[in-house]
Symmetry: D2
Subunit: 272 residues, 4 copies
Amino acid sequence: MRGLKLVSRDYQRENTVVKVGSAAVGSGQKMFMAGPCAVESLGQITGIAEQIKDYTHILRGGAYKPRTSPYSFQGLEEEGLGFLRDAGRAAGLPVVTEVVAPEDVDLVGSYADLLQIGARNMHNYPLLKRVGSQAKPVLLKRGFGATLEELLFSAEYILAFGNSQVILCERGIRTFNKHTSSTLDLGAVPVLQQLTHLPVIVDPSHGTGRWDLVQPLALAALAAGADGLMIEVHDQPEKALSDGPQALKPEKYKTLIKTARRLVQCLGGWEQ
Amino acid sequence: MRGLKLVSRDYQRENTVVKVGSAAVGSGQKMFMAGPCAVESLGQITGIAEQIKDYTHILRGGAYKPRTSPYSFQGLEEEGLGFLRDAGRAAGLPVVTEVVAPEDVDLVGSYADLLQIGARNMHNYPLLKRVGSQAKPVLLKRGFGATLEELLFSAEYILAFGNSQVILCERGIRTFNKHTSSTLDLGAVPVLQQLTHLPVIVDPSHGTGRWDLVQPLALAALAAGADGLMIEVHDQPEKALSDGPQALKPEKYKTLIKTARRLVQCLGGWEQ
Amino acid sequence: MRGLKLVSRDYQRENTVVKVGSAAVGSGQKMFMAGPCAVESLGQITGIAEQIKDYTHILRGGAYKPRTSPYSFQGLEEEGLGFLRDAGRAAGLPVVTEVVAPEDVDLVGSYADLLQIGARNMHNYPLLKRVGSQAKPVLLKRGFGATLEELLFSAEYILAFGNSQVILCERGIRTFNKHTSSTLDLGAVPVLQQLTHLPVIVDPSHGTGRWDLVQPLALAALAAGADGLMIEVHDQPEKALSDGPQALKPEKYKTLIKTARRLVQCLGGWEQ
Amino acid sequence: MRGLKLVSRDYQRENTVVKVGSAAVGSGQKMFMAGPCAVESLGQITGIAEQIKDYTHILRGGAYKPRTSPYSFQGLEEEGLGFLRDAGRAAGLPVVTEVVAPEDVDLVGSYADLLQIGARNMHNYPLLKRVGSQAKPVLLKRGFGATLEELLFSAEYILAFGNSQVILCERGIRTFNKHTSSTLDLGAVPVLQQLTHLPVIVDPSHGTGRWDLVQPLALAALAAGADGLMIEVHDQPEKALSDGPQALKPEKYKTLIKTARRLVQCLGGWEQ
């Protein structure tokens, strides 16, 4: 696209592989990121990590939560970062968590292996410049009102400021649909893979807002060629402090990953 | 949904299987419908049918084309219906074609095995009543501006007028996206399968408007649980009189179906 | 726009004025069309017409109703056409009503002064061809999922088949908004007036789905340069058989038109 | 709406009037904010201010520009703030400018009379908390992918942190429309005025992206009841460093404001 440089396939033909601790995103092997929307306690995050570790490459959990209402749970902040890091270490998994302000980047980076820029901050350029100016890899989610061109330009900010370790994430867009909170745009996966060398994953949890749609759309995302998935898992969704309705229980998540592995294996050699 | 009766899962638990000649849609076996957007000549449709018959359950081809411009090719009408029927017989395939006006229903029904109501006519109630009053099965495409509730109510019209042989088809909705002509809403597949007993297929050709995205989204649709696919195939897309840019060449289509069969086979026992 | 001919400003510089009985739409004087969504009885339509006749140029009322559900009131059909015509004559107003099928065009045309093609039928090309082949003027509503290019091409069908008396109507599009049933696109008014010589009116009733928003958006439409308004009026909205929530009571409608006249008068000489 | 408190009409019946230097937004008198998208030089901003001061209540100009591309002009930052303040003083106008990062709030607040939170930052909660914790009034623009509920909750953040001086601004939403960059949602004006006591203005420049549509939609916004307008004015749009295509030349702007005053005057006593 006109104006894009560093993120473009024309600039770099081979795929970028983003190393996140022991995980390599974009290497060909599908990567699964999972965990609760929000870190609620050490016991909660440790317990969930323990149950899903054999089916997961990167543990997710939010400590700084961008919430629509100022009266909703805003996250445990630094304490939550510590719980997440400890749960990851105990489970032997690298961790990803969201950063929402430039001044928090160093702090969050001292705990996390992968820094998430959420959909609401895709256009937050000072934040993009800041994560571009440090070394930790970045997971950039597409804004729910953003075009692919805007997503790629937001990634361009990060690369232009010096950090080439960026993973893109499709998580659904705003449409007139009423049956899901967002409409997951799986066409974005092959289109982004044509336009950029950066890995592309999909979040079917936020992409639907409904736990019962997570498996079919997770499998669809992999069939469309996604390099991985980010899925919300909670052991007690009904008691979750955030986004319970879209969280899978650990058992359902394991079934999904088993099925996903079968799909990936048999499609192994498929030409896109 | 409130007000829905005959199409609802609450009204009929078991899946409806729609018989189209030798094909059974909704039976569990995935059904592949393919052919050119428009029937252009006997040679064209017969040649394409010959090339794809071993990978196809139902042959498609338009004889009455709803075109945005009055100056675009409008289809061969009854002559085209004859070419399609003959090509189907030669290839041993049942045929599906679009009907756009109530007064054409009997004529089209005398040639076709499956009557298509296109996206632009999903809200055309006199047409829905008319196809509901005859015996040939109906393929009802979702309007690109329609909610799932509206799609189900349009199907309800057909069943309420006496025809229970209806297949639903997701073909993409209008969004702010610029990289595809429509945004394929694959979440619609599992949602519809929860709400109704009617089979649900997906059209990734109109759903993207780009031939290079048809395979990844066709596979995604099957992984999401679609009962089948409708795909545009043309031996000379660059010379097609309609929708060339989204048509696959026969070779590419065969590769897609081979891959699709592999996917379906290995996902055979997957629980949604 | 590429491919447009007869409807284009390049083809005809001066504005088309559409004569509807005593009314002239596009003449510079703003035209107000009003009445109930559906004709429910002779008494209902006659009573409403009597109350609003001094504030109205064209009386509206539906006899053939395209309803989402087959179980909703579908209109009084020919009986309703008679009631509407008689009410119009008694009030000295020409009448507009919707036609939904090609085979009904002659019948509806024998009662109505202006034939409405509803939003759901904007892409119904056999119907467009049919109204293009007869002499009564046509009110063409924009489909809620249609681009302006598609609206203009649908008008092109009517002109290409011989009828140049076409009025365009913006009535709202599908968006992610939750506060109104549609999002009224008032930018469409000046854009259409640049692209075509046909008159452009606005329907703030369907455009919002809320009676309490009709006045502000009706005034906004006139300020944006609309050639007229189509507004739903019902004497007992709470008992209306269709679209009650968006209908104004006659008193509210009169207040709106008084205000609208004031606005038009003082903006009389405004340059767009 | 559920969960809203301080911004709700139920919490405060009477309209909030936001004082910005000599201007009072929400007082009943319509307020006009105008100026270039970006401050480019002292001469540019001073010259524009001089030409429009008699038609303007608040001077706008961006010093920190959130741009889609990292390679686009990013604004003059603090130097631009000084130019804007000086131009405002020379013209006798208070000034509004955008702040994009929490750490810049105090600096920007030391130059500006009104702090703008742009559409891209409507969901930037740390920024909302920060402007809520200081005394300068805030202009909060609706995100182009945001519902009105989300806009009101973002305003709730500012009030909840202690700052009740907030102006809301509708600037267009993302839709499938191709004729404008955004679709201006004028229904949002009366709906917001029902739900909240905060003033509501409209930005037809970003709302359309086309200078030729600014006047009709500006007048429409006032007719819909907006408390004011924000309009981009540039003396050399073709040379503007940002958003030239949507900027009015000073002469066109003056004509618009003259017409707007006439409209407001004659609608003075209109009941919504």
